[in-house]
């Protein structure tokens, strides 16, 4: 079989395994029989049983994900609001003092997307979660720009993240013994600290649920309880089909440092309402003619087959490129995200 060995499912070599990062739940994944893969130098479960069954478990019930490979940063001292006003293209003032989370982009001076991330603010604390492959780049970026605001950047490699997602997720979470009872009052995108633990009603699946950003030493107990309450363990494979169905971008696939937000379906996260706010990348964005930029659109394949990243598509007024492509277990068709020229109509050809 041709491409089998070069696909993302390549088996891990022993020598490779020893060098990779592991989450606090590594043994739990192995004991559940998970297939482990190298994901940006983290040894992570891609599926436990069947990717499609795991996908449906999240859409119809509740699934639990170990996403402890993601990067967590805390901040100390200085003027943190001013710091985020500067480095974050969305406006942190929307959430500061509201116990909420906000999604947006980290841009360089050229308006290129360094990463997408979520910033949480509850009480007097900010916490930031960004992708794992950009950890080192981001840490240096935060540190470089934090100086002028007197802010200390603290990488929390001692933290782990669980996402519990699905229509039944929230009720199951409330049944977890150690769960703070105030969690039940969290609105969508609401968040709260419980000591060093952060609970947030956010996710990456298009379903209701919670993300728990907690010290790694607390993770096993939460994981075991969630499983005993009927949450199904879900691998990164289904995480990808779930986010794709929800139309959520994946950094590195759907946008990179060479893309600006307007051609990456992130124009809605660019907040220029406060004209006095000078965020990094703003000048560059102002010079972009949005009526000419490409757009990311969701696509569905009407024929049999599976769309894959890198496939070219054509429409009557231009071209496009598939950025993410997979199979949608919900629609039972192939779907994808594609970046296309302006003027596209509803149909295109592969």
């Amino acid at each position: 079989m041709g491409s089998l060995n070069v696909a993302i499912i390549c088996l891990l070599e022993n020598s490779e395994l020893q060098k990779m990062n592991k989450t606090a739940l590594h043994n739990a994944h192995i004991n559940l029989g998970a297939k482990m893969v190298n994901f940006s130098n983290w040894e992570m479960p891609i599926s436990y049983t069947s990717l499609i069954e795991e996908h449906h478990a999240v859409r119809n019930g509740a699934g639990i994900f170990d996403v402890s490979h993601m990067s967590v940063f805390d901040f100390n001292g200085g003027d943190q609001v001013a710091f985020f006003e500067r480095i974050f293209a969305n406006d942190i003032k929307k959430i500061s003092n509201y116990n909420k989370a906000i999604y947006g982009a980290l841009l360089n001076e050229k308006g290129g997307i360094l990463d997408d991330l979520i910033i949480y603010h509850a009480g007097d604390k900010f916490r930031l979660v960004s992708n794992c492959s950009t950890r080192e780049q981001n840490r240096q970026w935060y540190e470089k720009h934090a100086v002028e605001f007197g802010v200390e950047v603290i990488e929390r490699s001692d933290m782990g993240i669980l996402a519990i997602q699905g229509p039944d997720a929230f009720n199951k979470i409330l049944s977890i013994k150690e769960m703070n009872s105030q969690v039940k009052n969290l609105p969508s995108f609401g968040c709260m600290f419980d000591g060093d633990k952060l609970y947030a009603r956010t996710g990456y699946t298009g379903e209701d649920g919670l993300e728990l950003i907690v010290p790694s030493r607390n993770i096993s107990q939460l994981w075991d309880q969630a499983l005993s309450l009927g949450c199904v363990p879900i691998g990164l494979g289904a995480r990808d089909t779930l986010r794709l169905e929800a139309g959520l971008n994946l950094y590195g696939n759907d946008m990179t440092i060479d893309n600006h937000p307007y051609e990456s379906n992130l124009g809605w996260t660019i907040d220029m309402t406060d004209q006095n706010r000078q965020f990094i990348g703003k000048e560059a964005l102002l010079s972009i003619d949005q009526t000419k930029s490409q757009k990311i659109v969701g696509i569905i394949l009407r024929d049999k087959g599976v769309l894959r990243a890198g496939y070219e598509i054509n429409h009557d007024r231009g071209k496009g490129l598939v950025l993410s492509g997979s199979y949608s277990p919900t629609l039972q068709s192939s779907i994808g995200l594609a970046r296309v020229d302006q003027g596209y109509l509803s149909m295109a050809r592969l």
């Binding site: 079989m1 041709g2 491409s3 089998l4 696909a7 089909t241 599976v306």
Partner: protein, 128 residues
């Protein structure tokens, strides 16, 4: 590694071939291959009457995660394809050596069968 039926022979690229009592050859992919691919959602099969060459691509199998060409272990003329796979490609996952077969052919050179890997040799390939 699960048990591999003793009457099959393999390509190192994970396809199997079986000689049927009427001298025709049935072809599919191994249990190891379906396990690597994960949930299979689409298969493109050759046409009946088409000639295929040994170790050349004869079919395509797509899982949620990956696409892969399927190479023919033997040369010959395709005489039947497994039309069940059209609507239920997932049977390759559940029954790779029986219900999940891909196609049958009239072999043009049975010497090619003898050159394929035995089950033991194939298992060694997978474990390398």
């Amino acid at each position: 590694m699960n048990d591999v039926p003793a009457d099959l022979k393999f390509l190192s690229s994970h396809e199997w071939a079986r000689v049927e009592s009427d001298g025709t050859i049935t072809i599919g992919i191994s249990d190891h291959a379906q396990d690597l691919l994960g949930d299979i959602v689409f298969v493109e099969l050759p046409e009946v009457g088409q000639s295929v060459d040994a170790e050349s691509d004869a079919a395509i199998v797509e899982s949620v995660k990956a696409a892969s060409d399927v190479y023919s272990p033997l040369s010959g003329e395709v005489i039947e394809v497994n039309s069940l796979l059209e609507d239920q490609p997932e049977i390759i996952n559940s029954s790779p050596y029986e219900d999940g077969w891909f196609y049958k052919l009239n072999p043009s050179d049975m010497g090619e069968f003898d050159n394929l890997l035995s089950p033991d040799d194939y298992i060694d390939v997978c474990e390398d």
